[in-house]
Amino acid sequence: MLEHKFKVLKVKSLSKQFPGVKALDNVSINLEAGKVHALMGENGAGKSTLIKILAGVFPKNSGQIFFDDQEVQIDLPSDSLDLGIKVVYQEISLIPEFSVGENIFLEKFPVNKLGVIKWKKLFRDCDNLFKSIGFNLKANAKISDLSISEQQVVEISRAVFQNASLVIMDEPTSSLTPNEIEKLFTVIKNLRKQNIAILYVTHKIDEIFRIADEVTVLRDGRFISHRMIDETTEEQIVKDMVGREVDSAFERPIEISNEMILHVNEISTKSKLKKISFNLAKGEILGFFGLVGAGRTELAKAIYGYDKILSGFVEINGKKFTKYNTTTMARQGIGYVTEDRKGEGIIKDMNLRENMTLPSLEFFEKFFYLNKYKEKSFVTDYIKKFDVRTPSSERLITLLSGGNQQKVLLSRWLLRELKIIILDEPTRGVDIGAKTEVLKLINDLAHQGMSVIIMTSEMNDLFSLSDRIFVMANGKITAEFKKNQVTQEQIFKASVN
């Protein structure tokens, strides 16, 4: 009933360069009609970049895409849609106030000559569509009343209606219950019967053994392996995903002081966290590993007072806090460096100096007067100390590279007396050379007696610094490990729990 555009969609040596990082390096993959192809890899492996190039969101730097032997050009999202490539993202892009039927037929309402919508036909077509993919849903139900999994199926139905030849699913099960996952798998199997190619992007290894025909693994933007599902094992795939050697670890003291500085006791938040507890000693570096959505950032923000905690408490130097905000925590000597440098870190209308001194302006204050000369000389010192590459302290922050911005954000806290610093993805968007510099800086701080909490999804950061490693999943701590007593595979397994 549907017309198909290819037997095999071939992606040949695709590359994509972002400033300072090669997101995709010569990646090839073949997607067959009527097959489910799983795409796996850690965060930053290049999965999203690949999806976005296929969807026309990013232009590629080099490489080719073929429908069988015919090369196709994808420069814009509209090109991709015209070719029948449909991405179902993690965030649903339906209109919540519209009905299921209206959403599916949004681009192509059945109308009569006057442009009046033929509702009966719309709902009937919609029911038929659902039958064809084996799903039961009322066409006149409002989207906002549906569960996430039902919304996803609506998105998929929309793709089928739009004559999709390739459906890309980005972590489709990340927020679904086991029951809902079953339903989704039924739908996927029906899509396969309709000869649609499916690219299934996921972290969850058990799923691909249930639903996929073949699997491609990416790591650091490179193609690592392509295997048929019935010829491989879970262990093999995990090995492919994490097999990267960790850069030289930094020298960490063997004995950590037993002077407890922070005690987090069963804190929970509205959004994510469930009864998180841990201790942090003076001069210790704790690494929290977790995949996207595990709750790392939420934990950082809850400790720091950006998000309210519903229950539990935080104890700093024996002082208990249950109700607190960021000002309280900054006064207690906690600093926080965000993962979202652009959104929550830098202040784009301000220069380097003003960005660096923001939390510590009291330092340069005499009565009410802000001594800019003193401020400038301090900042100049820190620029030298941390080797921030900039012509002057007065340079607009947005004109610095990612790595240099990150150093500025780190120094933001070092001007003041800090006991604990919480770093969320400290090396994200930082180019390789500067990564090591940032990590070294963190290690130096811990040697000077500062306690550090690192939230990361990068094994490299995790292993090169942490004294203890906590793994998070679904807002909970699922495992705790001591340094040197754990493998990447163990950590990865705990994180997909």
């Binding site: 925590m329 959104g343 870190g345 784009k348 302006l361 802000l370």
Partner: protein
């Protein structure tokens, strides 16, 4: 040179200069003491309120209730002084009233989390209505206290009193915005509230302060206006909020927050007021006093956007 053109203040200053030269040639009356004094006097009430509005807009907020509050103030101050015969009591009640309005605006914005565009619009309606509940008719000066009249109409060394009051307040705000950490925080909050909060700064406190300062400044401006008119009138400052906001935006303050200077605001007000004055001097229909600034405002923000885009 490139930098000069990129600077909004320089462009405004040149515009102002050209306008003044043109008007002086067209009509020598322009540079008479009386005319200059009248421009300065009418600028000063706008300036006083614009100081607060600059802070608010810089921190990403706006207060649409200033005009309605100012009208209300003229009624209160006249009424209380009439009733008590005490200027001090009149002033105290004005500032108490303004304090309450400012606190409510701040509360609605930070605790009820209503966007300030909407929250202060509602406050404007509330004030416009309740001023008639307070008094149905205009309140005339029955106390005839000469000091009160002096505030708006008097001169010191041939300089109008409102200008002197404005000049007395001005340095405080220049200092606040440029030489204290608080000024830095207002800019930071407007530019990136999340980052500022994550730097341990209590952004709600600063938003409160912004609304309260603005309301208190409206109190001062309202007293001057009442003295100038010698009346308390329910609709006397209708549309005043738009003049203030237009002047501040013309002065280069961004409506989205994150940038703004007092100097820019001063220049913005002067440009608008000189244009108004020119329209009168040139005998053009007075309605153009609204049309011309409207057009200029759109152009100013458009050119500002152009410049910012070329930076990126």
């Amino acid at each position: 040179m490139q930098n000069l053109i990129k600077n909004n203040g320089v462009i405004l200053f040149i515009t102002l200069l050209v306008l003044c030269i043109f008007l002086s040639i067209y009509n020598p009356q322009f540079y008479s003491i009386q005319n200059i004094n009248s421009i300065l006097r009418s600028s000063s009430t706008v300036m006083i309120v614009a100081l607060g509005m600059t802070i608010l807009l810089t921190s990403g907020e706006v207060d649409l209730s200033v005009g309605a509050l100012m009208s209300f103030v003229t009624v209160i101050v006249m009424d209380i002084i009439n009733k008590t015969g005490s200027v001090v009591l009149g002033f105290v009640s004005v500032f108490l009233f303004c304090l309450v309005v400012g606190l409510v605006n701040g509360y609605v914005r930070t605790q009820l989390r209503v966007n300030s565009l909407i929250g202060t619009l509602a406050m404007m309606l509330i004030l416009q209505g309740s001023v008639y509940i307070y008094s149905m008719s205009a309140i005339y000066n029955k106390h005839l206290i000469s000091f009160f009249t002096f505030i708006g109409q008097g001169f010191v060394f041939k300089i109008p009193m409102p200008v002197i009051i404005m000049l007395a307040i001005l340095p405080f705000f220049v200092f606040l915005l440029n030489f204290t950490k608080h000024g830095r925080y207002f800019t930071a909050i407007g530019s990136n509230p999340d980052a500022t909060r994550l730097s341990g700064i209590d952004i709600n406190r600063y938003k409160f302060i912004g609304f309260v300062i603005t309301s208190l400044l409206v109190g001062i401006a309202g007293i001057i206006l009442a003295s100038l008119m010698d009346t308390g009138q329910q609709g006397s400052a209708k549309g005043f909020e738009l003049v203030v906001i237009a002047a501040v935006l013309l002065g280069g303050t961004s409506f989205k927050g994150g940038s703004g200077t007092i100097v820019g605001t001063i220049l913005g007000i002067l440009v608008l007021k000189v244009i108004n004055n020119g329209i009168i001097l040139m005998g053009i229909r007075q309605e153009f006093q609204l049309v011309v600034p409207g057009v200029i405002l759109i152009l100013a923000v458009y050119f500002d956007n152009l410049r910012k885009r070329s930076d990126a």
